[in-house]
Subunit: 214 residues, 2 copies
């Protein structure tokens, strides 16, 4: 028996530009009020203890609202804090190992960098694919070759799992992305670096609703 | 039923001063020939994929010789590559979580930075304590307050688990450390930065044997 489907429509990935924990949590809280449906904790440079502290602070906000918390890369931390799942890059643990540690109910998403990755991912026991980067972005340096929208379309057509798009998505390009059939978009800078994360999330949400899939 | 006791007498912690994987593995292989009894993979700055690659390369050398491989901090990686255990600092996952992921047979060691840590550790299900730093060292910057030898003696007297000493141990101070009743010494620089890791390990081993405990 599989877990319930997740609302992936507006997927927030955390950035590290905030100056303190309070500001960080405030941005997340605003973005949720604006309509974010899932949060991924991504903090590559943080120590284990710092990640646990951030994760637990996020859970205190998200769990009462039923919004899933996904941990980037660190399966052990997801287990330790009882997060809802993990997001794995192509350089992280493989899906089977993560699944063995976290169990069948955990949400597991993976990043795909090429069409071949997306095809291979169909044989894994995952919950979603993240396709990116679509557009240049400030949040990830050295993020590899950009995907073309036609390729994103192809992945959406072939995938038995929901697809989200990531990388430089903002109000100027979100329509082109949503039309490709994705289940949602992942955003970092467009919310974290916005003067109003609340309004930024609301604006995304409004646009996404026009493409609502059941 | 608990696992067999581990020979902790000469415990090598990996350094990151090597220029490539081949050189790194060569240093480890030499140190084992010289008498190292357990190896901890510690590479704080390495990515998940890099740690997995290093860990698997080490296991290929160590497992046939029956020498345990311990992974620093990353419980998920220890699980993924079937390493023998993990070493946890005070800022890493807690012992109960690591034990839950790795199971009862895993070796779990912890770093204690104060006498209080050492006392609290007696209630955990662990395999050894690492006390340090004893002396100033190049391998770990900002490593905190140095232990006095009298405090190390105290920990050895009170601990129901084997104690190893770490931090700046070399041929000039090893006798003072071994006399305190430790089960072994952990070394990084003294082997990794030696012109001959083989001879360095041999010299350590010779000195340690004089204090052999069953």
């Amino acid at each position: 028996m599989r877990r319930n489907p997740i609302d992936l429509s507006l997927y927030l990935v955390t950035d590290n530009t905030h100056s303190n924990l309070r500001e960080f949590l405030n941005i997340v809280a605003q973005s949720i009020e604006g309509g974010v449906t899932v949060v991924q904790l991504r903090a590559k440079e943080a120590s284990t203890r710092a990640l646990i502290a951030l994760g637990e602070a996020l859970l205190a906000i998200l769990r009462p609202l039923g919004i899933p918390l996904i941990i980037n890369d660190r399966v052990d931390i997801a287990y330790a804090i009882c997060a809802d799942g993990v997001h794995l890059g192509q350089s992280d643990l493989n899906v089977a190992t993560a699944r063995a540690i976290l169990g069948p109910q955990a949400i597991i998403g993976i990043s795909v960098e090429t069409l071949e990755h997306a095809i291979l991912a169909q044989d894994e026991e995952i919950d979603y694919l993240a396709v990116g980067p679509l557009f240049p972005t400030l949040s990830k340096k050295d993020c590899g070759v950009l995907w073309r929208l036609e390729e994103l379309n192809q992945v959406c057509a072939l995938s038995r799992y929901p697809v989200i798009a990531i990388g430089g998505i903002n109000e100027t390009n979100i329509d082109s992305v949503m039309s490709s059939g994705v289940a949602g978009v992942a955003v970092i800078s467009a919310i974290f670096r916005s003067p109003s994360p609340l309004n930024a999330a609301r604006e995304f949400k409004k646009r996404i609703k026009q493409y609502a899939t059941p």
